[in-house]
């Protein structure tokens, strides 16, 4: 017996650092998540993680060069939401980012984006050379 293919929402976009463009992608993705029954907490987690990932790409990857873009790809179904966020930078070693939760680092105002992504998503990893973040949120078991 063959089962009907699972519906899926997928897409990709190349963004410059423009708030309206970023907001419209967030809304589009939020619409798909809602369609697949993701709860509010999941939408909060994904929105924050995407925001942090894009900002890291624009700031640390593209070094705020307005001519460079960040590519976002997504694939959402009723079980999981998978994202790729790719910048035009040279990449970095995510293990070299100091732990911002250590007492001695608590007052450093930056460096929390990646840890929030890791906390909120089920899985987050950088592909070599470190300019390509892939992250997944699994609806059932985080």
């Amino acid at each position: 017996m063959t089962s009907a293919p699972q519906p899926v929402a997928e897409g990709s976009v190349r963004l410059h650092e423009n708030n309206k463009e970023i907001e419209s992608i967030q809304l589009l993705i939020e619409g798909s998540l809602s369609q697949f029954g993701y709860p509010d907490a999941a939408m909060f987690a994904i929105r924050l993680s995407l925001e942090e990932a894009m900002m890291n790409g624009f700031r640390h990857g593209n070094l705020a060069d307005p001519s460079k873009f960040v590519e976002v790809r997504w694939r959402i179904d009723s079980n999981s939401a998978n994202f790729h966020v790719i910048d035009e930078g040279e990449g970095f070693d995510p293990e070299a980012v100091p732990d911002p939760t250590l007492d001695e680092n608590l007052e450093i105002p930056s460096g929390r984006g990646l840890m929030l992504i890791r906390a909120y998503m089920s899985d987050a990893r950088y592909h070599d050379p470190g300019n390509h973040l892939e992250m997944t949120f699994r609806k059932v078991a985080k």
């Binding site: 708030n19 907490a41 942090e52 900002m55 939760t101 450093i108 929390r112 929030l116 909120y120």
Partner: protein, 121 residues
């Protein structure tokens, strides 16, 4: 006295500056920079600044916004003052807990509780 800027509302409550946000999402870097500039100006204008930042109505907060809060907290302390935070909804409180910034900031459930013992009314 209440002063409206484009991103925050600041009210002077007998020497305590209560700050509220106009936007429900504090994510956009340009807006965060604007908020930061305004808050720094406010803190630097007071001898020993007492500031209460209320998050009533705020739905989303990025790490860049946390960075601004850390900067303001350090600056108020340096100037012999104090920063308190209040009205943080549970989903945003989780962001503070994950980053362990709940250990750094003085966080109160409501503005009213934060104002107790803070010299304001």
């Amino acid at each position: 006295m209440s002063t409206e800027t484009s991103r925050i509302r600041v009210t002077d409550l007998s020497g305590v500056l209560r700050v509220e946000f106009v936007d429900k999402d504090i994510l956009d870097e340009a807006a965060i920079r604007q908020i930061s500039t305004e808050l720094v100006k406010r803190v630097e204008a007071a001898a020993s600044p007492r500031m209460l930042i209320s998050f009533r109505g705020v739905e989303h907060l990025s790490s860049a916004a946390l960075g601004t809060l850390i900067t303001i907290n350090s600056l108020t302390k340096k100037r012999g003052g104090q920063l308190r935070l209040s009205d943080i909804k549970p989903s945003i409180m989780e962001v503070f807990t994950i980053t362990k910034l709940n250990k750094l900031f003085q966080i109160f459930e409501t503005s009213q509780k934060a104002l107790e013992g803070f010299g304001g009314k």
